[in-house]
Amino acid sequence: MDILLAILLGGLFGFVLQRVGAADPDKIVGMLKLTDLHLMKAILAGIGIASSLLFAGLMLGLVDAGHLDIKTMHWGVILGGLILGAGWALGGFCPGTGLVALGSGRKDALFFILGGLAGAGIFTSMYGGLDEAGWFEKLFGGDASLVFTGNSTPVLSGSWTGLLAIGIGIVMIVLARMLPDKLR
């Protein structure tokens, strides 16, 4: 069952990433240069729609909270994000979209994936030292979320916070609608 779901959900996600333009480095770099905000609008709307429906489902008891998984907050999140941002702008791919781009027939994506395997390998060999240096020490209680998800350390508490999460999702959809097609 898990294997079937992996193929269906992964296949759908890969297909969607290609059809929204996320596997096209021109669309990625266009977003980052602020000259083509198509993907920014799509990403904002996507997160907003998923998030508001997810928290509505959690409040109504339709979604099993045990499936949610909050990633640990540590200093590495910030350093890693800064570094990933540089590579994202340089290459025009992120891990998932690079893989999908390779599937769609892009040769440059093959080089990105090979580089990615090298980068992941370098990190894997450096992890012990980075861990000892304290980069992965938990901040905000570790598995921190703004709103309680069932198994996270919430920043805010109270039964109204589920509505706040739905509200944030709706704001993101509105922002996606308001963003112009380009800023430069």
């Binding site: 779901l5 992996a6 193929i7 959900l9 992964g10 296949g11 996600f13 890969g14 297909f15 990433l17 059809r19 929204v20 596997a23 096209d24 669309k27 770099v29 240069k33 602020l34 990403i43 904002l44 709307a45 996507g46 997160i47 907003g48 998923a50 997810l54 489902g57 990633k71 907050m73 540590h74 590495g76 999140v77 910030i78 890693g80 994000g81 800064l82 570094i83 990933l84 941002g85 702008a89 340089l90 025009g92 791919f93 891990p95 998932g96 893989l99 999908v100 599937g103 769609s104 580089g115 990615g116 395997l117 992941a120 894997t124 861990d131 921190a144 703004l146 998800t149 996270s152 959809i173």
Partner: protein
């Protein structure tokens, strides 16, 4: 050529929502480590091994594969797991997406991106070099952060994860000026 931003948003939202309702949040970059581990275990048979004392039942001589009770070691030893197959299936989805793309546009997929052509002319080899270096940097950063654009940014912010907000802010603060500077022409 591509779907409208609204149709794209609905489709992306559906993917992330279905995944978290049915199984767990979408994530990609961990699987680069798992594939590295599979390749490395061909040359080093003792990289991952069964260990009853560990939470997952597997352990590794490498600190990263051994962390969190050896859960990465277990995935390396068992390639037919959900997360790894999910990422392999994304490649398949990309193949189908590419076929649809070519049928709709009647053009082959543009191999050298426009931003690269404008800045560096038709230097295909340089494009491959930049994509390769980009791959190294992106995956190192993604593993440092514990997730990439899918896992940390989209799945994270969807769940209001504090790590998701910090990751997204850090990523765009660097990516926007770097893209504007490198590909300024």
């Amino acid at each position: 050529m591509y779907w409208s931003w609204l149709k794209s948003g609905f489709a992306l939202g559906l993917c992330f929502l279905l995944a978290v309702i049915l199984v767990k949040p979408i994530g990609v970059s961990t699987q680069f480590v798992i594939l590295d581990g599979m390749i490395a275990s061909v040359f080093n048979r003792n990289l991952v091994f069964k260990d009853e004392a560990s939470e997952s039942g597997y352990a590794s001589s490498n600190a990263y594969l051994n962390k969190s009770g050896g859960k990465y070691a277990k995935s390396v030893a068992n390639p037919l797991n959900y997360s790894f197959l999910f990422v392999l299936a994304m490649l398949l989805g990309g193949i189908i997406g590419g076929i649809v793309h070519r049928r709709k546009t009647k053009h082959p997929i543009r191999q050298t991106p426009e931003f690269h052509q404008r800045r560096f002319m038709n230097a295909a080899v340089l494009r491959y070099v930049l994509a390769f270096v980009g791959g190294i940097v992106v995956l190192w950063g993604a593993r440092m952060a514990g997730g990439c654009t899918s896992g940390n940014m989209m799945s994270g912010i969807m769940q209001t994860a504090v790590s998701g907000y910090f990751f997204a802010a850090a990523t765009f603060i660097v990516a926007i000026p770097v893209a504007i500077f490198i590909y300024r022409k």
